[in-house]
Each structure stands twice: as C-alpha cells, then as structure tokens.
C-alpha cells in the first residue's frame, strides 16, 4: 500500500508498485456477474436433480437426486437402443442363417463373413477358455487353427462336435491293459518315430510289435493313421493331441484317456471332455452353426 497516491480519484485500490503500476477496482460487467450468480443457482437445482453429494458415513452412499438418474441405467438404455438397432438391421440375415446348413453358409461369401463376424464374441465367451482366444489351444486342449481333426474337420462334423460334445477314450496300458513298463517305453519310442516318418526303422521293431500286441491299431489304424475320424489321434502327423515329450507319451499310454472306474476318473488319466453346447449356448440352433463356420475358417477347415 503506497503512502502516497498520486491518482486518488481514478478508483485504484491503493496498491501501487514501481511508481505507476497500480491495481484498479473495475467490477466485471453486469452480464458476467449475472451468469456467475446464475451458475450458483444452477448448482442448487443440479444437486437436487442429479446424484451429487457423497454421504459421510463411509457407506459409499450418496444423495440420489430427484430424477433417479444413474449412469448405469443410461448405459443400459443406450445399449438397448443399439441392440434393437442391430436386431432390426440384421434380422433378414439371422433368418437366413437359421434356414441354411453350414455347408451352404460356407459357400455363400456374404453369409460366411457375417457368421464369422458375429461369432467372435460367442467364441470368446464359450470356447476360448479351453481352446484359446484365437483357437490356438492350450496344454491338453486341442488347437482349432490347425488341420488335424480328431472328429473330422468338415463343417458338418465340426457342427456335430459342438452340438453333442465329444468324449475320447483310450484304455490304459493297451487294449487289454496288459502292457509292461518296458513295452510301453518301446511303443512310445515307436510312436514318436512314426511322427518323424521313421516308423519302419528296424530300431523300433520292438515297439512296432507292442503296437500290434496292445491292439493300438483298433483305433489308431494299422499304420498309425486312423481309418476314419472317430476321436483317435493320427500318430503319423506332426501334431500331438497332448505332447510330443517322451515322458508325457509314456504317461498317456500308461494311464489312458478318460479312464474311469465306478464312475470316477483314475489317477493320472487324461481328462479330455468336450461338453455338448446345444444345451449351453443361447439360441443354439443358429449359434452352433455360426461357431462351426467360425472354427472352420480359423485355418484348418476341410
């Protein structure tokens, strides 16, 4: 505050610096002040109308407001609008999808891309937990993106698999359950050689003999290749249902797959069950088809 004010009449506040730099007392324009006060008044109505004030009792509660508005409700309303819009927009395609077979869908370029585009979320919700988000599989769960199929890679076969589920069966220690540890080790070596294309080497003659003795050919085929897709793995290719690791191969042969006694899984047996999705999926008639097309298009469909 300057002691000496050379401009007493201009309405300055008396704060003067550097001889002539002074603060004037200019009120803001009326319209500005009015909108300023109007803002305060608006806050009152806003606070009454919308949820606003948190309560102090640590309950996480707050004043709800007279409008009863909530963010989640608004989101749901918006989402309903979007869902209805989608439903209306794609009604004819959905109808068409219901009447077509999977093979027909695959042939129809437009319907195929529609089926694939609308399956992504379903696949994520119902399939990805075991088969991976992109069908890349998981340890002990089959890869869907390759061309090796236990139950057939044709669209109709895939559809049947999704609809009814699949339960593979492999008896422990050969068909009769009578293979010795040594025999199992021999046949494991033979099977690994098969996938490398060396099945006829004399080195693996012992294992080959066990393959016959254990009646493995009943399911896996005389040369390690199943005659028809019925759940048995193709032993001649380079895709492994469980693992290419020798210990793991021995383990599978020793304990089998889905071996039960009195309805209880035996210890060590591989549990490999694909549930039936016609009961699980909503709107299954259409959605199973959709997913079959999607899986077929992942990269290995036949």
């Amino acid at each position: 505050m300057a002691l000496h004010n050379p401009w007493p009449d201009e309405g300055n506040t008396g704060h003067i610096w550097d001889e002539d730099l002074r603060e004037l007392d200019n009120p803001p324009p009326l319209w500005w002040m009015l909108s300023f006060y109007a803002g305060f008044i608006m806050i009152v109505f806003y606070a009454l109308y919308y949820p606003t004030i948190p309560l102090t009792d640590n309950s996480g509660e707050f004043t709800k407001g007279m409008a009863g508005w909530t963010q989640v409700e608004e989101y749901h309303d918006d989402y309903t609008v979007l869902k209805d819009w989608r439903k209306a927009k794609f009604a004819d395609k959905e109808e068409k999808l219901a009447t077509m077979s999977v093979d027909e869908i695959l042939k129809d370029e437009d319907m195929k891309s529609y089926a694939v585009a609308t399956s992504k979320m379903l696949f994520g919700d119902y399939c990805a937990a075991c088969h991976g988000a992109g069908g890349q599989g998981n340890p002990n769960f089959p890869v869907l993106a390759d061309d090796d199929w236990l139950w057939g890679g044709k669209a109709a076969q895939i559809e049947a698999t999704i609809n009814n589920g699949r339960i593979g069966n492999m008896p422990a220690k050969g068909m009769m359950g009578n293979l010795t540890e040594q025999e199992i080790a021999d046949v494991a070596d033979y099977v690994i050689a098969l996938s490398e294309g060396k099945g006829n080497d004399t080195t693996f003659a012992a294992g080959k003999a066990v393959y016959t003795k254990g009646m493995c050919m009943a399911c896996h085929g005389p040369a390690g290749k199943p005659l028809a897709p019925a759940g048995a793995a193709n032993l001649t290719d380079q895709v492994w249902r469980f693992s290419a690791d020798r210990d793991e191969v021995i383990n599978v042969i020793t304990n089998g797959v889905n071996v039960k006694k009195n309805g209880v899984y035996l210890a060590g047996t591989k549990q490999a069950v694909m549930p039936a999705f016609k009961e699980r999926l909503p709107n299954a008639e259409v959605n199973v088809k959709r997913l079959a097309v999607y899986v077929h298009a992942l990269g290995g469909g036949q």
């Binding site: 390759d146 380079q238 895709v239 290995g300």
Partner: protein, 489 residues
Amino acid sequence: MSTENKEVKNKSATAASVFDDVETTNKNLQSIGVEILPVHTGGTVHAKRIPGAFRTFKWWAASFWIILFVGPYLRWDGHQAILFDLPNRQFHIFGMTILPQDIWILAMILLFFALLLAASTAIAGRLWCGYFCFHTVWTDVYTWIEEKIEGQPNKRMKLDEEPMSLSKLKVKVPKHALWLLIGLATSFSFVAYFVDAFDLWQRLFTLDWGVTETTTVIALGLATYFFAGILREQVCIGFCPYARIQGAMYDTETVVPTYDKERGEPRGRMKRVKPGEEAPELGDCIDCNLCVAVCPTGVDIRYGQQFGCITCGLCIDACDSVMEKIKKPKGLIRYASLAEFAGKELPAIWKRPRVVVYSSIMTLAAVMILWGLTTMSPMDVKALHERAPLFVQMSDGNIQNKWTMKVVNKGNMPMKAEITVEGPEGMAFNVDKVLDIQPGNVGSTNLFVRIPRTQLKDVNTPIVIKVVDLNNPVVVEYYETTFIGPRVR
C-alpha cells in the same frame, strides 16, 4: 522510398518541417478541411471510415471470402466439387477423393499455412489479421452496414446513449436483422461444405433438417452475429491466441504500420506567439487524432506497436490524407521496421534467418503435399497378422501363419484385388477369394501362408504380399511382412 524518408527525417530534425508553408493553426486547419477529433475511450469502438489505398486493398482482400459462399454450389462430375463427407469418411476436392488414410496430407496443408502465417508475419506483421482474417472481414462488413443504417460514428455514439424509443428501434432492428441474416448465411455456407448444398436448400424448405445441421447452422450463425457484430475488436484483443503469439514472430526487421516519432514529435498545432516568446518547434503531427478515430480496434498507433494493432493500415490512409491537406510529405505513419528507424539497412528478405527457416519448412510441407497427391495410390493394403496363435503346426509338418488382409479402394473405379505371396521355396498360400471392392470401400479376406518347417532358418522369415488390381494391373501394392515360426531347434 526509405532513402527519401531518411532525408526528410534528417531535415526535420533541424527545423519543424521543410514544408512549413501551411499554417497549422486550428483556424487554418478547419478552413482546409482537417478535423480535430476527440479521442473516445471506453464503450464500443465506432471507427470512422475514410477512403484510401489500404481501404481499397482491404475490400479486395475481403472479397476473397466470397469463395466461401460460392464454393458449395460448384459441381464436378455430377457431384459437389468440394464436399467433406464426414458420415462416409471421404473428402471430395474436385476430381480427388481423400480417405482417412491420406489425412496426413491435411496435416501438411495445415503446417504449410501455419508457417505461411509465421513467415508473412515475420516479413510484414499481422497481414492475416489486418486484411484476410474472417473476423476482421466480417466485422468490417458488419460495421459498414452499421454506418449505412445508423450514420457516422458521432451519430452512432449519440444513438447508443439515447434511451430506447420507437425511432431508435426503427434504426436498430433492421441493422441487427441484417447482421443475423449474414451470420446465418455464413453458417449455412459452412455447413454446405459437409452436406450437399442443393440438398440442404431443398430440405430447408421441406423442414427436413437433422439435429446436427440445425444446431450447427443456428449456433454458428449466432456466433458470427455475436462475434462480428457485438464483440468486434474485443475478439482480437481478448480472445484470439494469434494476437498473443505474434510477438514471437516479429523481429526488428519486421515492417508494420509505425508512427515516425522523430518526424512527428513534438506534436501540436501552431499557436499565436505572444510577443517576447519564441515559437515552439513543432513536428509534423498536428494531433488531429484521425489515426485513432479510424482504427477498428481503437488503438493509438502513436504509442508504438501494441497488441491491439491488427496492422490493417487504415491509420496510414488517415494520416496520409491529412498530410496531403497540410502539404507535408506522406508517410508520417507508414509501413516501417524498427531497424529502419535505427538507421540500419534492411537485409534482403532471403538473408533473414527467421524468414529462411519458416519458408524452408513451408517448402518442405509443399513438397510433401505434392508428393502425396501425385503418388497417392488408389489402393491401400493392410495385412494384420493373427496374434493368437502367431503360427500353427500343421499335420504335414508345415507351419501356417494367418493374416487378415484389408484392401482399401481409394479410387473411383471398382477394383478386383488379387493377393499373391512371394517367399522362400516350398511356400504355399491360400486366399479365400479375389476381392471385389467398390470405390471408397474396404475389402477383407483371410490369407494363409504355409512354409515347411525345414525351410525356416529363423523365427522370423521375411515374405512379401503382393496385391494387384486385375481391372487395372498398373495398380500394384507390395506389403513386406514377417512370417513367424517356432524356435529353430
């Protein structure tokens, strides 16, 4: 011109002026038609309009904006010549269609004009503000209307002070109505660059406008009215960020309207000399305040360059008209730089670092724009590698990778895009289909590539995806990407 001025300056330093043949007493000035005007402070700036070279130039510069109103009605090949089609994400500029993929060209265009602004400011001050800025131009037109309806500034000021009456309303209502009309015409024209203009007119009469169109036209129209009519110079002084950064672009060589203080001061008019007193030596400024009265932002240029000054040159017109009447050389207020007043020689424009830097960036942007426009391929290829799984072991020992191919047709003709792959020996690929893509659309398909595991020497194997438009085989795009396999044992 500068040497001539210097001469004048030197002489004026010794005597009041070399051309002292006109008496600058109040009485004499009145008789030769020089008004001595009061300076108004506060309230609306009501600038006087007087003819002159800069006034004429301002009108020419302003007429540039007529393009805004005419532009939407230009046609090209049966569609609107300039149409920024936001819903379809396409910009049509005459024969060209620019899709979002080419939006970097827009960034270059913006860069070019931003630097043009900087370079022109470095050379000659706020050329944009003074002559071309839409706010200046619209305000100019609005105040011109005001003058036509309400009369000269003193009349307007008196009218503003009068209480509201029927006769005042009779003057005010048409003015505001006209202002609003211009505002709405402006916003309508603006919107017509985003929606087909004729369609917009048609739907105006059938009252069929959408919410976006209606609110944009009304809000923008009201804003134009409010900014150009009511706020005027307050926008330049209080809102506009450009006014605030101009100081960074000025240097001592920048020419701006400047008052020649040495020649003008001490300002004043001749007074009768009392016996025994010596006549005061006066400069050429007779303190008539005309330069202040004509200023659209209400600044007094004689205080020197200031942020309120939009360098429109109207004060030069004003001062020159007075100098002409009192038979003194023109240019008491003129386009001049600080360096010039300091007696320095102005360096050549291309030797000024600021100008060189600004204009080389401008050139770069211009070259990029030209390069972008000339090499713009009608096809855009994106290959999205499947991430889960990155690769798949196939039963026959091949490794398979999957790509989602997206091919954009940026041209005007339907496209038949065939996808092929070049890679190591033994590679096979499989594409779902040849893509039929309509102009402006995206075609999408899956691409599967298989390479025998024995051929893979590394986790990453480079391959090239080639896309050819079968309808026009000149159009080829190559997409280099990486095939991913398992770790090599």
